[in-house]
Amino acid sequence: MSNLPVPAPSVNSETKPFWDGTAEGRLVLPHCDRCAFVIWYPRSFCPECGSSEVTWKDVSGLGTIYSFSITRKGQGEYRNATPYVLAYVQLDEGPRVLTNVVEEDPDALEVGQRVRVVFHDTGQGTALYRFARA
């Protein structure tokens, strides 16, 4: 199990479809209807081509570690959670997503390792997407 805090993210009407998905254990991203771009971070339009037409669709939740840091000195609610791993995970669908990698032995982590999404309930109708080695 993870000792990471699970702070509730800020949610608004634009990002609600994404966060509603996390509460159901799904990673739901806006896809552009015009250019098919998989949009990150989630928005109600496509920042690549300017289209206002997007469709929210599930992605696989699989990815690879693009970079990571084993944090020894945390701040705020993470002050007592060290060591913990901040990372960018590149989803198989393309986006590089800032997240945590949940790992008992962080020294065993390497760039390029395969990971799979896990969800940690915030208790406020959302869940944080984190990743564990696949």
Partner: protein
């Protein structure tokens, strides 16, 4: 239209203190403004343009210009974190070239040690559109820069010992600066033995946290030549600025905005990296310096680790003498913003007023580069090229 040679930095002042419990933030702005104007030989009443950034309390330049008693024709509160002041010099130079103003004052002040602000800050800004996707994961300033360091190591084989060489060079310079926050020379091993803050960055890979401030004055050519015969003018020959975003989910952690701001500044100045005698390189962390040197074209991408080794950055005779005041890594990082002090030390070098032990002989051309924000997410980047002559 180019701004090349159409304005000069005529005044520069760095607050000598690193702990300022006895002054308010506006008072520190006032002291550095007075210092830079005195250095230029100008008065507050000569100022017709005022620039400040997010460190200024209140309603940006509106509050501060009023507090300082200015009556400016131009105000600008451009905020790009620690790089703001290099943006300001570029904007001032363009406005002066366009005839909109003649004497521009730019100030910075911060009190993270005695003012109650959180040292080093944290992640994204509450309320920003990206906040919900960045803040819940325990992002700090060091661990996000560490993401950039780790990826650079993965792609190019850069080592912690190579990053440590940057801190060592800064400490060799800081030993000569009586105002420097850290004056002890350190070794590569001491950097590697310092506590890990956010793997792979050690405590000594991080800049200092200091109270402080600084200011510069930019003036048109007529005024610049009239002050002391122009002998202490650092002419603004080139400027480039840009932002580097997370690129809609395709962030590349191995380069910085210097790639574009540097190219623009060199093109405007009509010079190349080989012409630069001294460089002030933003040094929030050692990795910031390494990536910036590559992106400015002082060496090829991925070669930064070798470039900074074997005294490559040590003044006065290294490949690229850098941050001869000790930089943010040792001297001063006032208000968690290193851009102003980068400009000031470049001006000292161009004037020949750096400490004799680190003064670059005949420093005809200097570069200053600022990086604001966070290499792990989004940054502002601005590059200035300053020279002794317009030529």
């Amino acid at each position: 239209m180019s701004i090349r040679g159409r304005s000069a930095i005529v005044g520069a002042f760095e607050h000598p203190l690193r702990d300022i419990p006895h002054l308010t933030l506006p008072q520190v702005h006032r002291e550095v403004a007075a210092g830079a104007l005195a250095d230029a030989g100008l008065a507050f009443s000569d100022v017709d343009a005022y620039f400040c950034a997010g460190d200024a309390p209140g309603f940006g330049a509106l509050s501060m210009a009023e507090y300082l008693g200015l009556k400016p024709r131009i105000i600008d509160s451009t905020e790009t974190g620690g790089s703001s002041y290099l943006f300001h010099v570029g904007h001032a130079a363009a406005l002066i070239a366009a005839g909109k103003c003649s004497v521009a004052l730019i100030t910075l002040a911060g009190k993270p040690r005695t003012g109650g602000a959180a040292p080093g800050g944290s992640g994204g800004f509450g309320g920003s559109p990206e906040a919900g996707f960045e803040n819940p994961w325990g992002i700090t300033v060091p661990n996000a820069y560490a993401l950039a360091a780790r990826r650079h190591m993965y792609e190019f084989g850069t080592t912690s010992a190579q990053l440590a060489e940057i801190k060592v060079a800064a400490s060799l310079h800081a030993q000569h600066n009586p105002h420097a926050y850290l004056r002890d020379v350190v070794t590569v091993q001491e950097v590697l033995d310092s506590p890990m803050v956010a793997d792979p960055l050690h405590r000594l890979d991080c800049c200092v946290i200091t109270d402080g401030g600084g200011a510069v004055v930019v003036a048109n050519p007529e005024i610049a030549r009239s002050l002391g015969g122009g002998r202490r003018a650092a002419w603004v020959l080139g400027h480039g600025e840009t932002m580097k975003s997370t690129n809609n989910g395709r962030i590349d952690l191995t380069h910085t905005g210097a790639l574009w701001s540097g190219a623009a500044a060199f093109a405007e100045a009509g010079v190349t990296p080989a012409d630069i005698r001294y460089a002030s390189i933003y040094d929030s962390f050692t990795i910031t310096v390494l990536q910036t040197i590559e992106d400015l074209g002082f060496c090829a991408k991925g070669e930064g680790g070798r470039f900074v080794s074997d005294g490559g950055l040590v003044a006065p005779f290294g490949r690229l003498p850098f941050n001869t005041d000790g930089g943010g890594l040792c001297n001063n990082h006032p208000g968690n913003r290193g851009g102003m002090t980068k400009i000031i030390e470049a001006v000292r070098q161009v004037r020949g007023e750096a400490h004799p032990a680190v003064q670059v002989p005949d420093c005809s051309l200097a570069l200053a580069h600022g990086t604001g924000g966070n290499l792990g997410t989004r940054t502002g980047a601005a590059t200035l090229i300053l020279g002794q002559e317009v030529a």
